[in-house]
C-alpha cells in the first residue's frame, strides 16, 4: 500500500515537472524573444558560480570535519615503521592536487560566468598558443616527476626484501633477525600460524589439509613440531615482522588498516609483507583517549568508552565470496615481556612428565593432552601418523627449542624446592644448561638460567644432604595432580 502511494507520488511529481518543462518551452516559442537565451546563460552561469563556491567550501569544511578519521591526520596515524611514508606521500599528493583542484574549478566556473553568451557577440578566434601549452604541459610534468621519484623511493623502501642472510627468530635482538608469522586466507576466516620457539615456519602442502590440519602442515618437517595456530595476531612492538600470506581456496587480501599493510593472498603462491609495528595497542588506546570522538560510550558497552575497546584489526580486502565482509581477527601489539608471556601460554600448556636418561642425557617430556597448542603435539605426536617419532627427545632439538627448556628449568626449580632432584639429575641438568648457554637469545631466558644456576647450587646442597641414590633412567614425576592427567 505504502509502496503504491509512494510510486503514485513520484509519478505525479514527474508529470508535474514535465508539464512545467513543456509550458516553459511553449511560452518561449510564443514569446519568440531572441534575448531569452542571454537570460538563461546568465542564470545558469550564476548558478555555476554559486555551485563552485559552495562545492569548494564544502570540500574544505568536510575535510576538516573528517580529520579524525583521515589517514595521517588526527588519530588515524600509521602504527608501523613504514606507515608514515605512505601517509606523507598521500598528504604531499593531496597538497599538489588540492591546488590544481581549486584553481581549475575556479577557472572553469569563473570563465563560464565571464564568457556567458550574449546576443550579437562573437567568440574570440583563439585556436592555440604554444607558449601557454608548453607551460601547462611542463608544470604537471615537473609535479609528476616529484611524485614519481618520491613514490618510488617510498615503495621500494617498503617493499625491500629482507637481506639474504636474515633469519627468523622468536624475538629479534639484532639486525637481520625478524619474526615470521603466516596468515592463510580461507572462506571466510584467517588461519594464523606462529613458528614456535624455533622461529621457523614449517612447510605445508594443500593435499595435507584436513579438518585437524587446517593449513596442511607436512609432518615430516621438524620445523612444524612447534608451530601453533592462534585466533589473533600478537606481536612485540618495534620488532621487524614478515607475514607470509597464503590462501587455501580463493584470493584474499591481508589488510591491517592501521599498519598500512595490504597484500593479496594467492592460492599456490605465498606473498610476503614486511613491517614493524611501532605503537602498542595500549599506547594507541591512551592516544585515542585524548580524542573527543573516542571519549564517548561504546555502542555495545555502555560502561566503557570507545577508546578503551580499541583494537587493531585484520581484514580481508579482496572479494572472496559471500562472507568477505566478516573476515576479522584482532591484531595485538604488545611489549616484549607481554609477547613472551603470551608465547609461553600459547605453546607451554601443562607439562605432565619429564624423563631424563642419565647416561645418554636424553630428555623425554610429555604434555597434558589438549594443553598444547602446537598442532604437532596436540594432533600428531604419539599417534601412528607421526613421521618424527623418536626425534622429539633429541637433546639437540631440545636445545634449539627454548620454550621446552624453559619449562624444563621451571620444573627443575620446582623439584629442587621439593628436594626431589638427585645429583645425577643435577649433573645432567647442568650439562644441558651448559649447552644452552651459548645460544641464549632472549634476556628473559638468560635471567631464568641465572636464577636457575643459583637454585641448582642450592639443589645440589640439598641433594648431597639427603643423599639421593641416582636412578638410571631417572623418572622425575611432576608434582601434584598433573601426573594423573596423563592417564586420562
Amino acid at each position: 500500500m505504502g509502496f503504491t502511494i509512494g510510486a503514485l507520488c513520484v509519478i505525479l511529481l514527474a508529470v508535474f515537472i514535465v508539464q512545467i518543462g513543456k509550458a516553459r518551452e511553449l511560452a518561449s516559442i510564443v514569446r519568440n524573444d531572441p534575448a531569452e537565451q542571454d537570460e538563461i546563460n546568465k542564470f545558469h552561469a550564476g548558478l555555476g558560480m554559486i555551485f563552485m563556491v559552495t562545492f569548494l567550501v564544502a570540500c574544505v569544511v568536510s575535510f576538516i570535519y573528517y580529520i579524525p578519521t583521515t589517514l595521517g591526520w588526527g588519530p588515524n596515524i600509521a602504527a608501523s615503521a613504514h606507515g608514515p611514508e605512505v601517509d606523507y606521500l598521500f598528504n604531499l599528493t593531496l597538497f599538489f592536487t588540492a591546488i590544481v583542484f581549486v584553481l581549475t574549478h575556479i577557472a572553469l566556473f569563473w570563465f563560464t560566468w565571464k564568457y556567458k553568451g550574449k546576443q550579437g557577440k562573437i567568440g574570440l578566434y583563439w585556436a592555440h598558443n604554444e607558449t601557454l601549452e608548453m607551460v601547462w604541459m611542463i608544470i604537471p610534468s615537473v609535479v609528476m616527476t616529484f611524485l614519481v621519484v618520491g613514490g618510488l623511493q617510498a615503495w621500494n623502501n617498503i617493499m625491500l626484501d629482507l637481506p639474504e642472510n636474515a633469519v627468523s627468530v622468536t624475538l629479534p635482538e639484532e639486525d637481520g633477525q625478524y619474526i615470521e608469522i603466516e596468515a592463510t586466507g580461507s572462506q571466510f576466516l584467517w588461519f594464523l600460524r606462529y613458528p614456535g620457539r624455533d622461529g621457523k615456519i614449517g612447510t605445508k602442502y594443500f593435499t595435507q589439509i584436513n579438518s585437524s590440519n587446517k593449513v596442511g602442515q607436512t609432518w615430516t618437517d621438524e620445523k612444524n613440531m612447534d608451530d601453533f595456530m592462534t585466533n589473533e595476531i600478537v606481536l612485540p612492538v618495534g620488532k621487524p615482522v614478515r607475514v607470509r600470506i597464503t590462501a587455501r581456496d580463493v584470493l584474499h587480501n591481508f589488510y591491517i588498516r592501521d599498519m598500512r599493510v595490504k597484500t593479496d593472498a594467492v592460492p599456490g603462491m605465498p606473498t610476503y609483507f614486511n613491517f614493524t609495528p611501532t605503537v602498542t595497542t595500549d599506547s594507541m588506546r591512551r592516544r585515542l583517549s585524548q580524542e573527543p570522538e573516542w571519549q564517548v560510550a561504546d555502542k555495545n558497552f555502555d560502561t566503557k568508552q570507545r577508546w578503551e575497546l580499541f583494537e587493531y584489526e585484520l581484514a580481508c580486502a579482496e572479494l572472496c565470496g559471500n562472507g568477505h565482509y566478516s573476515m576479522r581477527n584482532l591484531v595485538k601489539i604488545v611489549t616484549e615481556e607481554e609477547y613472551l608471556d603470551w608465547l609461553d601460554k600459547q605453546e607451554g600448556g601443562e607439562l605432565a612428565e619429564v624423563v631424563i636418561d642419565s647416561t645418554t642425557g636424553q630428555v623425554e617430556y610429555t604434555y597434558v593432552p589438549g594443553s598444547v597448542k602446537s598442532q604437532y603435539f596436540s594432533k600428531i605426536h604419539n599417534t601412528d601418523k607421526d613421521p618424527l617419532e623418536g626425534k622429539t627427545a633429541d637433546l639437540e632439538k631440545l636445545v634449539e627449542n627454548k620454550l621446552r627448556v624453559n619449562v624444563y628449568m621451571t620444573k627443575m626449580t620446582d623439584m629442587r624446592n621439593n628436594a626431589e632432584l638427585g645429583s645425577a639429575d643435577y649433573t645432567n641438568a647442568e650439562e644441558a644448561m651448559n649447552k644452552l648457554k651459548p645460544i641464549q637469545k632472549t634476556a628473559r631466558i638468560t635471567t631464568d638460567v641465572k636464577l636457575s644456576t643459583e637454585a641448582l647450587a642450592k639443589a645440589k646442597a640439598i641433594a648431597d644432604a639427603v643423599n639421593v641414590t641416582p636412578v638410571v633412567p631417572v623418572t622425575v614425576p611432576v608434582p601434584d595432580s598433573t601426573v594423573q592427567d596423563t592417564t586420562k
Partner: protein, 617 residues
C-alpha cells in the same frame, strides 16, 4: 541562417562525383530497408543502429543503476526491514520467520555489485556510449554514406543484444547471477564450489561477455576502416573533428585489447568447464583438495584482464572527451583550444593506456619491482590528461558561451574529470595504493572519472545531437534540471566516499559493523544512499524527457541549429539511409573555424578564400 545557404550552394556547385559507389538515394529508404524489419530491427543504417545502441544502453543503465539503489539501501540501512522488496526480489530477500523482518541475502548483494559493474562498464559506457556516437557521428562527420560494412555494423548491435539477453537470463537463475565482482578474478570465478554465483551464473556471464567482445570487435573494425578509408574529399586526418579522433583511437584500443580479454575468458571457461588449470593452483575448497588442478596462476588472469581493463577505461572516457570537446567548442562559439595538442593527447593516452594495466595489481602479489614501471607510466598519463583539461578551460575563455543542457553537461564533465583524475594520481602511486587499494577511495575515483564523467559526456552528446537523431529537441528546462540534479547528486554520492577511503573502509563489504574501524560511518552511508536515490530519480526525468521529446519535442526547423561547422548538420533533418540527398559535401577547412574573420562560424564545406590558411596549425 545564412550558413545553410552556403551549404546548399556548396552542394549545388560542387558538381562532385560520388566516390563511394552508392547510386541514387531515395532518402526514405533503399533496397536494403524496404520492410519494417529491415528498417527498424535488422537495419543497416548507421543512424538507426546508433539509436538501437542508445536505447538498449539506456535500458541497461536503468537496470544497472536500479541495482545500485538496492545495494545502496543495504549499505545505508543495513538493519532496516527489507521485506517490502520481496515482491520484486522474491527469495533474495531473506525473511526471518520469527520476527518477520527481511534482509538482503549477501550472495544477492554481491551479485548486484557484480552485475552493476558489468552492465555499466560494458553495456552502458562501452556499447551505449561509443556504440551510439561512433555509429551516429563517424559517417555523418567524415562525409560517408554509411559504415564500411553496414552488415557488420548490424551484427555488432545484434551480438551486443545477444550478450545482453544472456546476462539478463542469468539474473533469473536458481543459484543467481555471477557474484565474483565485475573483474571476475579466479579462483572465485572458476570454482563453482566457492560461491553460488560461480555456478551457472558465471558461465552465462562469461558467455555473455564473449559475445560482447565479438560485438565490440565487429564495431571497432568497422569504425577504423570507415574513418581511414571513407572520408569525403578534403577531409584529411587533421580536418577531422575531435569526436572522430576519439572514436578512432577508442576503436583501435578496443581492437587491440578486447581479444586479450577474450583469451582470458576462454581460459577461465576452460578452467570452469574442461578441468584445465590455467588460473588454479594448490586449492582446497569445500572440504576437498583439488589435486589435479595445479600449476596455474591466479595472477595471470589479472594481467590478461587488466590488459583490457585499463584500455577499457579509456575506451569509455575517450568518446566522452571527444563529444565534450565538440560540444564545448560549438557552444563557446570558439575553436577548440590547441586542436593538435588535443589530438596528440588522445594518441598519447591511447598508447600509454596499454602500458599501465598493472597499476590495478600493485597489491596483487606480483613482483613489487614491476610496479616501478607502472607507476612511472601511470603518472605520465596525468600530463596529456592535464593538457586536455587546460585546453577545455581555455576553450571557454574568450568565448560566447551558449549555456544549454549540452554545454552544462560538458562543463560538468570537465569538473568531474578534474576531480576524478586528480584522485587517480594518488592511486597510481604504488606506495599510496598500499593503503588505498580496494577501499572506497578507489570506488569514488573511478565512479567520478569514468562513470559520472563518461555519463556527462554521453548526456552532452545526447542533448546536442538529439535533433540529428530524431529531428526534434529535448526539453531544455527538464534538461537543465537534470543537469543540476545530477551534478549535485553525483558529488553528494561520491564525494563522501573519499573520506571513507581515507579512513581505510574496504569496498565490496556487505555491511561494516563487523569491524570497529569501518563501522563509524553509518550517518555518511545513509546520506550517500539517499543522495543515490534522489540522483536516480533525476535520471528518470531524463528518460521521460528523452522518450517524450522523441515524439512530442520541439521540431527542428533549421538544418544547423547549433551553428556548427561540421558535416553532420549539412544532411537533411530527415535524412534516410545514405545521409545526403545529392552528392556528399566536400571539405575545405578544419572543423573549428568559429569567430574567424569576424564571422560567427564558417562551415567545413566552405572553400578557403584566396590566400587563406586553414586553421588549426
Amino acid at each position: 541562417m545564412a550558413d545553410i545557404n552556403i551549404v546548399e550552394k556548396e552542394l549545388e556547385h560542387g558538381g562532385h562525383h560520388d566516390d563511394h559507389g552508392h547510386d541514387d538515394h531515395d532518402h526514405h529508404g533503399d533496397k536494403y530497408q524496404s520492410s519494417f524489419v529491415d528498417r527498424y530491427i535488422f537495419s543497416q543504417d548507421h543512424k538507426t543502429i546508433a539509436k538501437q545502441f542508445l536505447i538498449t544502453g539506456m535500458l541497461w543503465a536503468i537496470i544497472g543503476a536500479g541495482m545500485s539503489i538496492i545495494f545502496r539501501l543495504q549499505l545505508g540501512f543495513p538493519d532496516a526491514n527489507m521485506a517490502w522488496l520481496q515482491p520484486l526480489l522474491g527469495g533474495w530477500i531473506k525473511i526471518d520467520p520469527t520476527t518477520g523482518l527481511g534482509e538482503i541475502d549477501p550472495d544477492f548483494y554481491y551479485a548486484l555489485v557484480t552485475m552493476h559493474g558489468t552492465i555499466l562498464v560494458f553495456f552502458v559506457l562501452t556499447a551505449g556510449l561509443s556504440g551510439t556516437f561512433s555509429n551516429l557521428l563517424i559517417p555523418l562527420q567524415i562525409g560517408a554514406r554509411d559504415m564500411a560494412s553496414p552488415m557488420m555494423n548490424m551484427l555488432s548491435y545484434w551480438f551486443f543484444f545477444l550478450a545482453g539477453a544472456i546476462l539478463f537470463i542469468s539474473l533469473f537463475l536458481n543459484t543467481g547471477p555471477f557474484s565474483g565482482g565485475w573483474t571476475g578474478y579466479p579462483p572465485l570465478s572458476a570454482l563453482p564450489q566457492a560461491s553460488d554465483g560461480s555456478k551457472a551464473g558465471a558461465t552465462l556471464w562469461l558467455l555473455s561477455l564473449v559475445f560482447f567482445v565479438v560485438s565490440v570487435l565487429l564495431g571497432g573494425i568497422n569504425y577504423i576502416t570507415t574513418i581511414l578509408n571513407m572520408r569525403t574529399k578534403g577531409m584529411n586526418m587533421f580536418r577531422m573533428p575531435l569526436t572522430i579522433w576519439a572514436f578512432l583511437v577508442t576503436a583501435i584500443l578496443g581492437l587491440l585489447s578486447f581479444p586479450v580479454l577474450a583469451s582470458g575468458f576462454f581460459m577461465l571457461t576452460f578452467d570452469r568447464v574442461l578441468g584445465t588449470s590455467f588460473f588454479l593452483n594448490e586449492i582446497f575448497v569445500a572440504g576437498e583438495a583439488l589435486t589435479t588442478r595445479v600449476g596455474g596462476s591466479a595472477i595471470l588472469y589479472q594481467h590478461l584482464f587488466w590488459f583490457l581493463g585499463h584500455p577499457e577505461v579509456y575506451i569509455i572516457i575517450l568518446p566522452a572527451m571527444g563529444l565534450v570537446s565538440e560540444v564545448l567548442s560549438v557552444s563557446a562559439r570558439k575553436p577548440i583550444f590547441g586542436y593538435k595538442a588535443m589530438v596528440f593527447s588522445i594518441l598519447a593516452i591511447g598508447v600509454l593506456s596499454f602500458l599501465v594495466w598493472a597499476h590495478h595489481m600493485y597489491m596483487s602479489g606480483m613482483n613489487p619491482f614491476i610496479a616501478n614501471i607502472f607507476v612511472l607510466f601511470t603518472l605520465i598519463i596525468a600530463v596529456p590528461s592535464a593538457v586536455k583539461v587546460f585546453n577545455w578551460i581555455a576553450t571557454i575563455w574568450g568565448g560566447n558561451l551558449r549555456i544549454n543542457s549540452a554545454s552544462l553537461f560538458s562543463i560538468g564533465f570537465v569538473s568531474m574529470f578534474i576531480s576524478g583524475g586528480l584522485t587517480g594520481i594518488f592511486l597510481g602511486n604504488a606506495a599510496i595504493d598500499i593503503q588505498q587499494h580496494d577501499t572506497y577511495f578507489v570506488v569514488a575515483h573511478f565512479h567520478i572519472v569514468m562513470g559520472v564523467a563518461a555519463f556527462f559526456g554521453m548526456f552532452a552528446g545526447i542533448y546536442h545531437w538529439f535533433p540529428r537523431m530524431y529531428g526534434r529537441f529535448m526539453n531544455e528546462t527538464l534538461g537543465r534540471i537534470h543537469f543540476w540534479g545530477t551534478m549535485i547528486g553525483a558529488y553528494a554520492i561520491f564525494g563522501p566516499m573519499h573520506y571513507l577511503g581515507m579512513a581505510g573502509v574496504p569496498r565490496r563489504y556487505y555491511r561494516f559493523d563487523k569491524f570497529q574501524a569501518f563501522s563509524e560511518f553509518t550517518g555518511m552511508n545513509e546520506f550517500i544512499t539517499i543522495a543515490a536515490i534522489l540522483t536516480f530519480a533525476v535520471q528518470i526525468l531524463f528518460v521521460i524527457n528523452f522518450f517524450y521529446s522523441m515524439y512530442k519535442g520541439r521540431k527542428q526547423t533549421e538544418m544547423n541549429p547549433w551553428g556548427a561547422t561540421t558535416l553532420e548538420w549539412t544532411a537533411p533533418v530527415d535524412a534516410g539511409h545514405g545521409n545526403w540527398d545529392g552528392d556528399i559535401p566536400h571539405v575545405h577547412r578544419w572543423p573549428y573555424d568559429m569567430g574567424r574573420h569576424g564571422r560567427e562560424f564558417i562551415p567545413q564545406t566552405e572553400p578557403l578564400a584566396e590566400g587563406e590558411i586553414d586553421g588549426g596549425h
